[in-house]
Symmetry: C2
Subunit: 316 residues, 2 copies
Amino acid sequence: MTPTEEIMNLRLGMDIGGTNIKVGVLDERFQSVTFHIRPVRETDRSESGMMERLVEMIGEVEREVSPRYGILTSVGIGIAGIINLREGIITKSPNFPLWNNMALGVGLRSRIKLPVFIDNDANAATAGEALCGSGRGSDHFICYTLGTGVGGGIYLNHHVWRGVDGMAGELGHMTVEPEGRPCNCGNRGCLEQYASLQGLKRFVAEHAPADLQPDDRDLPKIMAERAAKGDMLCRQAFESFGRYLGIAAAGMLNALNVKKVVLSGGLSNTMPLFLAAMRKEIHSRSFPAVSQGVEILKGGLGDKAGVYGAAVLDVS
Amino acid sequence: MTPTEEIMNLRLGMDIGGTNIKVGVLDERFQSVTFHIRPVRETDRSESGMMERLVEMIGEVEREVSPRYGILTSVGIGIAGIINLREGIITKSPNFPLWNNMALGVGLRSRIKLPVFIDNDANAATAGEALCGSGRGSDHFICYTLGTGVGGGIYLNHHVWRGVDGMAGELGHMTVEPEGRPCNCGNRGCLEQYASLQGLKRFVAEHAPADLQPDDRDLPKIMAERAAKGDMLCRQAFESFGRYLGIAAAGMLNALNVKKVVLSGGLSNTMPLFLAAMRKEIHSRSFPAVSQGVEILKGGLGDKAGVYGAAVLDVS
């Protein structure tokens, strides 16, 4: 770094998924300066193993970016599950059962000597879309992360609304069919069972077409291709997806009267297949003054929303 | 007033219903100094007629309270319908069709020379419960007003959340049965069709018992008395009421993670008959960390929530 260059404060974000760990660094203008994706290793599944792994990855990235861009000033981590934000504890992790009640925040902070912020992956994705993605410039929006399940986030007055316990934004577990499909959360008829990979699998299992298997690894891709070519059953599957997402979103829009819905997560790529059905429900189920002017936008950060959102948890 | 007494700023609130107009005045400590209830007269149904009536009522109350308590500093009005808060316009009034698009705020302000605040009756009731009722001391809560229909309000960080158009809090129009009972709003399966007087009427109409008429003026009272005595059909009616209210509340609690639900409106009096069913759904349909510690409280202001809430619209 030459003396004339500005030394910037850099924020590091990590998105810990069941399969991969993503790490990225943002500068003060929320521009990316680096991004990496690494597979989860078997040794990471223990509490101590993951702690070592994170320290190692953060160290690597710091050595990469510090000489060129500035100083790491904070680390944010997004992870699926129930997170105690204030104490930085992973209360319950669906992907890493060995981490339940792990005090990740305190442990990591004592190792890396930097402030550590932890939140669930959907809140992190919402923060990312708010500051660097499709929510940029918006005062308020709601976000659905459409993947294996459905996560959510609520952005009000320039902040992610986290609620009393940091549990707010569980929009995937709104009931959309009181006697509907059983959900992993213990409830029945959650949105998550209709507008997600799980939802597509259930649809296939219920309709049992000869040439589709619910457990096919490429199920969403195959179904999307067939739907695009006019296959009726696959089209109906995405219509059902959009219908239930619209029912849930209409309820949230009537409740919060915000004008933007951001769709993040891998299945947001199938938006052209479900958007019309989603819009139809929003318009028929929310007040005209509420639905008027509502924008439904695909997330602008793709699969990096969680990692960049984790980096900005301290300011969102 | 003797020279040693404090001259207080007083806030006047009005709650304009289809049958009665309520007016009340609060002092600076949000204590009531007067309350009156007056029937709506036929002449009030026109725009000019209501304007004269309001000016007359405000004048009467001012002459009553000013010599004893202090100076009227603002007037707040709560009224059912779609209200344009910023411009003080009644966009749509279900009870007074002649007032649609009436610029009540500007008109009244020019007559009484005081700041005028207008909001819908459910937001006003929420504000009332927040500052003077069961929500007092709470940072956040959600409120359902259970009457002919179901209104709602969302109180976050010490303010009624009004949304982009002032339309937030329409919690009665969350879909709880996608293919359910048709609603006046144009949707199907709204909470309002299950947890309200309309809901009880529909239940009676659908089950058609020989000894109950959906249009009986005292229907809720008769049904509540019978349910309390063990009548199975009437008990089922209130269980259905509580079930759907619980389904809707569970979705809002998962979304907002607040710890208090306030039930206002005339039918909140039947809470003992529906509370168990409501609680059951909240506990089975929201995350344990979300439902843990949630209080469900009857509004503390009874049928005065709307009038006192109207009085405090400027500070909520």
